[in-house]
């Protein structure tokens, strides 16, 4: 282990500059660096806020919700927008595929009067519109729903990430089931969602239990995870008793969806 005296001045300067940039490099003999605080918006789930380490989705950053279709990424994003609106924020939803359902959003607590719905024509335009909204500094959180078929341009995403970081006011959540590899390179935060159980009341499925693990975080320590209960559209607002009545139904081991008879 090199001592302080053994470290050359140029290397020490380089380490200091890296520390200033928040890259988290430190020598083993030193105390852990205090985490840099970055303003954030709530995710609507206190456990996820704690797992993120930054108190929620960081402002001025792209956050990728990496989840297969049906694992609650949209529900989590809607809950986050509702939480932002409860704090007085303005929100936007960029709906590339035209699948956004305002009725479902309203049932999940999103105030439609404080939600701007943007319907771009292609993925490039969606990224550009997100940049325009971020540059306005008036949108606190936006969701960039790229849909299942569209794959954005990596350079455009990098430009968007740089612009958001420069402005520093908008937290952008990205839903990109098909372009997750492309987006994950530009995103500062990557949260992977994995369904662990269904939540049921009797024979009715009312939600799902999802394990959210923070795989990447540029401004806090990654690796945290949280267990989220995501209720389906009718659950949370219509009947508050559902949360207490629901019982988790564990998902069985993977089995083939189609059995070949006689094989």
């Amino acid at each position: 282990m090199p001592t302080d005296a053994a470290v050359s001045p140029s290397l020490a300067n380089a380490l200091e500059s890296l520390r200033d940039r928040g890259l988290g490099l430190r020598r083993g003999s030193e105390a852990p660096m205090p985490e840099r605080t970055r303003p954030s918006v709530p995710s609507g789930h206190p456990t996820l806020d704690a797992a993120l380490g930054s108190g929620g989705w960081p402002r001025g950053a792209l956050a990728l919700l990496d989840a297969p279709v049906g694992c609650g990424a949209t529900t989590l994003a809607l809950g986050s927008l509702a939480a932002v609106q409860e704090q007085g924020g303005l929100t936007a939803w960029l709906d590339l595929d035209g699948t956004f359902d305002p009725a479902v959003a309203a049932r999940l607590g999103v105030g439609l009067e404080w939600l701007l719905l943007v319907r771009p024509h292609d993925a490039g335009e969606a990224v550009e519109l997100a940049a325009w909204l971020g540059r306005s500094t008036l949108i606190d959180a936006l969701v960039l729903d790229l849909g299942e078929r569209s794959v954005p341009d990596r350079r455009a995403l990098d430009r968007l990430a740089a612009l958001l970081a420069r402005v520093g006011t908008t937290a952008a959540l990205v839903l990109a089931p098909s372009g997750r590899t492309m987006v994950s390179g530009a995103a500062g935060v990557r949260v992977v969602l994995r369904r662990t159980a269904w939540l049921s009341v009797g024979r009715d499925l009312v939600g799902q239990r999802v394990d959210a693990s923070v795989e990447r975080h540029r401004w806090a320590l990654a690796g945290g995870s949280a267990e989220l209960d995501l209720w389906f559209g009718e659950g949370r607002r219509i009947d508050p008793l559902v949360a207490g009545m629901a019982r988790p139904r564990l998902i069985e081991a993977a089995r083939p969806a189609l059995r070949v008879v006689g094989a």
Partner: protein
């Protein structure tokens, strides 16, 4: 140097045209300039002096005015820019649409360009036109070049005024309209409605209508005044001052309604006849302290008095009904700029939307229409999901 922008909407100049949007267009033009004059139905003058550093060349200023007006109603408009009222309005008159479907036409007219224009463009009466023709005057410059004394001797004061116009002089200043100090809306019912609570929906609608109008003008009220005309009783009037300017129709309606109910109770208590009080005392259950309020009967007995045929006359059972409301009038006054932060209950984030509106307009110009939408839950209990919400194109 003064620069005026004249806007002429040909469709509003028609005799049977609906000029309702005109006032709202003037409100929208307040965003561009504080000096806007409604000259006539469908004609407006906007003082655009000194706006170039902010908005760019005059063509862009005119385009912005057109955009603001078309945000209210998509009507075709002729625009003219000149040094004074005459030149600006004449420029608007001479503006030609480049395409049949073009939304606007613009003409910038300078004083030197009047030289070759026909004299028939002057606002002269037929007799004066005939006399001009008699003297062989057909072009502007022919009249402008004559000595003023000669024109005055031959055509009188009206001729001198027309010659000044032909020379491009018009001393009439722009008379900017004053912003209203109050806005009001009212509605009447052909069949009177029973009860104070029944007016809540009407009150909410009136408040929303007035708040929308004020939001377009970037104004907010400091007080609300509600007047209810009753069928068989004097009108009710309640006031609700706000600690800070408020633009929330829901809360305004709720506060007014609660004030109204309190006012009804106070009035009934004050005009309660002695006979009724004596009968209530007689019918009071044994052991009930005298003078104590009878909560079970109070809501039923109080409204009777308000609609009784006269003081001191005891109401019969047929007269037992709620006050019947004939008309509702809501006035919002003490207008001022909306506060960014208001009462906690008022959470007016309208100013943020106003700020965002500029960004959204720029985005609409950049990306075209059909991108930016706002959703509203019109029928949340509708059976089909597509009927529960309504999408509104922000750019349309």
């Amino acid at each position: 140097m003064t620069r005026l922008l004249a806007l002429v909407w040909p469709e509003l100049r028609e005799p049977d045209a609906e000029i309702g949007p005109f006032e709202r267009m003037l409100d929208a033009l307040d965003d561009l300039s504080p000096r806007v004059e409604p000259v006539d139905a469908g004609v407006a003058l906007v003082d655009v002096t000194g706006l170039e550093p902010t908005w760019g060349p005059e063509r862009r200023v005119a385009a912005r005015a057109v955009m603001l007006a078309r945000s209210v109603a998509p009507l075709r408009v002729r625009c003219g820019i000149g040094e004074n009222r005459w030149l600006a309005t004449l420029a608007a008159r001479l503006a030609r649409f480049e395409r049949p479907d073009a939304p606007a036409a613009l003409r910038i007219l300078e004083r030197a360009e009047l030289h070759d224009l026909p004299l028939s463009l002057l606002p002269a009466d037929p007799a004066m036109r005939q006399r001009f023709a008699l003297f062989g005057l057909t072009q502007m410059h022919q009249l402008a070049d004559l000595p003023r004394s000669a024109v005055g001797a031959q055509f009188g004061a009206a001729g001198e005024r027309l010659q000044a116009l032909a020379r491009g002089h018009d001393p009439r200043p722009i008379v900017a309209r004053r912003r209203p100090a109050r806005v009001a809306a009212s509605t009447s019912f052909e069949t009177p409605i029973d009860g104070i609570g029944a007016v809540s929906l009407t009150l909410r609608r009136l408040a929303a209508e007035l708040c929308d109008r004020l939001r377009e003008r970037h104004r907010a009220p400091g007080r609300a005044v509600l007047e209810l005309r009753l069928e068989d009783a004097p009108s009710l009037r309640v006031e609700q001052p706000f600690p800070q300017p408020a633009l929330e129709p829901d809360w305004i309606a709720r506060l007014l309604l609660s004030r109204l109910e309190a006012a009804v109770r106070a009035r009934l208590r004050s005009c309660r006849p002695a006979e009724l009080t004596a009968r209530e005392e007689r019918e009071r259950p044994p052991g009930w302290p005298p003078g104590a309020p009878d909560d079970n009967r109070q809501p039923r007995s109080e409204p009777n008095v308000a609609v009784s045929s006269g003081p001191g006359q005891f109401p019969s059972d047929e007269e037992i009904f709620e006050p019947r409301v004939v008309a509702v009038r809501l006035v919002l006054d003490r207008l001022s700029d909306p506060a960014t932060r208001q009462l906690p209950a008022f959470e007016a984030r309208t100013a943020r939307w106003e700020e965002l509106r500029w960004s959204l307009e720029r985005m609409r110009h950049r990306f075209g229409e059909g991108r930016l939408w706002r959703a509203s839950a019109d029928r949340p209990t509708a059976a089909l999901p597509e009927h529960r919400v309504r999408l509104t194109d922000i750019g349309a």
